[in-house]
Symmetry: C2
Subunit: 353 residues, 2 copies
């Protein structure tokens, strides 16, 4: 491989001049510049990244720590990060922790040890790795550039940017969508409290905002499986005054409900509208395609990378907590209540399990 010296010799200038041309630093005559550029082309010269890194203390590498790749959520994030990183001239080092705590901790050290310039970390879940959390805080305070994606840390002072999803907005959109389409009896198929609290809040809030009363008997608790959704779907059928729409805590539950209703001859969305959450790939496969609130996975990654790149390029300013809104994707499983469609007919059986 040609080195900067070869280029200098070829162009009959000093290495400094070549370096100047390469980095657009210092002033160089147009004539000289041209000569150098020609030499670079002729020798197909590219600066050696290791030498550059050694000298300038910047590797042009960023690390992305995720628990696993084979998961649409994380791979979409990775895609977002990669796209931004590449455009900014950084390469992406992919670090799969596999949920292993010590590995995650190790990867963090890539930043202080000059393996990479900065790092984006997405934890498997909240509080999944206290040791890593504390080390992250430590490194952040030391000024190392990190961006945390979804790892909420209880700390007064922020020492890195923090990106997260706000599902409340999406929930509100979903509710507005349903309400505007005339639905007032909207069931909520919620998950265990912790996961779904924001969503339940959104559900309640949207109803109240319209002056509608929140009906306890339309709020169901469930786990997050297809089966659970299926069971609730069947349950709904026996309501004295059945809902015309369902808002589910996630797509699996929503799909379970759809399947149950369909098997009992209920047409979706003509008779019941269904909204899911997450936008898993399956959501756009099943018939009818599921209207759902999508996590902005790709944008989460994109934004995280943008913040990191900003820092790495010398950007300053306060660290922020940035919350991206989950947004509604309207597909086929929801429809206006107005129209010629027949809705579920009430029968006299009780609605509670």
């Amino acid at each position: 491989m040609a080195s900067i010296r070869d280029v200098a010799r070829e162009a009959k200038v000093s290495v400094t001049t070549v370096s100047r041309v390469l980095n657009d630093s210092g002033a160089v005559t147009d004539v000289t510049r041209r000569r150098v550029e020609r030499a670079i082309r002729q020798l197909a010269y590219r600066p050696n990244p290791s030498a550059r890194a050694l000298r300038s203390n910047r590797t042009n590498l960023i690390a992305l720590i995720i628990p696993e790749m084979v998961n649409p959520y994380f791979s979409a994030i990775a895609q977002g990060v990669q796209d931004v990183a590449r455009r900014a001239g950084f390469h992406l080092i992919l670090c799969n922790s596999g949920g292993e705590q010590s590995l995650e901790l190790d990867y963090l050290e890539m930043v202080p040890h000059k393996h990479v310039d900065g790092c984006i970390i997405t934890p498997p879940g909240p509080n999944s790795n206290p040791a890593a959390d504390s080390r992250l805080l430590q490194l952040g305070r030391l000024g190392y550039p990190f961006v945390s994606l979804g790892r909420q840390l209880d700390t007064p002072e922020l020492c890195f940017d923090f990106i997260t999803t706000d599902t409340a907005v999406g929930t509100q959109e979903a509710m507005r969508h349903l309400l505007e389409n005339g639905h007032t009896r909207i069931a909520y198929f919620g998950g265990p409290e912790n996961v779904a609290s924001t969503r339940l809040q959104g559900y309640r809030g949207a109803l109240s905002a319209r002056g509608l009363v929140v009906q306890r008997e339309l709020i169901f608790s469930t786990d997050l499986t297809l089966e659970a959704g299926y069971r609730l779907g069947e349950l709904i059928l026996r309501c004295p005054d059945p809902p015309t729409a369902i808002l589910a805590v996630n797509d699996m539950v929503a799909i379970g409900a759809v399947l149950a209703l369909q098997e009992h001859g209920v047409r979706i969305p003509e008779q019941v509208s269904v909204v899911g959450f997450d936008d898993i790939p399956l959501a756009s496969i099943i018939r009818p395609n599921l209207t759902t609130v999508a996590q902005p996975k790709y944008d989460l990654g994109r934004l995280a990378a943008e913040r990191l790149v900003f820092r790495l390029q010398g950007g300053i300013g306060k660290f922020e907590t940035i919350s991206l809104s989950a947004h509604l994707i309207v597909r086929e499983s929801t429809r206006s209540i107005f129209g010629d469609s027949r809705h579920l007919v009430a029968d006299r059986r009780p609605c509670t399990p």
Copy 2:
């Protein structure tokens, strides 16, 4: 950050000695070694990767070029590569070409330009990027370490390892599974010729091997969508002598068929067994879980990485074409024909479209 000099000073030895300890090269007294190790620990010293790379011409980085991340096939490969790479002390640089030809070509240059030590490349499809193919060949001949994953190159001499999937084996397994369970009337829902030729061969071969005659009217051509499978599923119902089993060219087609049959009251697998291909995530979600031939995605990545690491660690030997077999995963959608189950009753309508 502490440098090797700091360690040397702390341990009261020369940097040479520290380097020897770090690399297990040259002889060092146990006493000295211990002293050095203690100093390393005390200073939390870690060698600077850039300096190392510059000096030794090895970055300990490998690149993985894939078309996209948000695709279970490629992310599983990436996971396999990453796992092996990490264990061998390499970091993984993730290169998303997004199918862009020039980008793919660029990424190739990371190897000769010392960005990475070696590279694994998975193309979007056969012949998708002739320019990259030719450059790859060129670089391979120059001795740069590459592994190609599924990019079949028509070239007499192999200049890198080539990993691919052999779907014939999987097809044979699927057929044996069906045959051993008593199925003899097995329909083949095949795709366009190019994709499915090996599979169709496997289908034919397995039947012939059992002395069964290949019945033309049981072989269907289709595109690779759910809808296509659905239509074929309906078609099957009208066969005069309907099949007791279906082998589909991929999971989507298989699932389409399952849905069609179920909607017409046919029970799977009691009345018809169905086998898919690929093992997409959906395959283990739908009821019944789909028996399918799985591409060894993860192992493909693992193997590619192993070959590359082997080369990078100085391993020599002929370049090889390694073919990994796709294997059958038996789930719920297939069942023995023997037993008390009632199979599809023939009616008199014609079977052809």
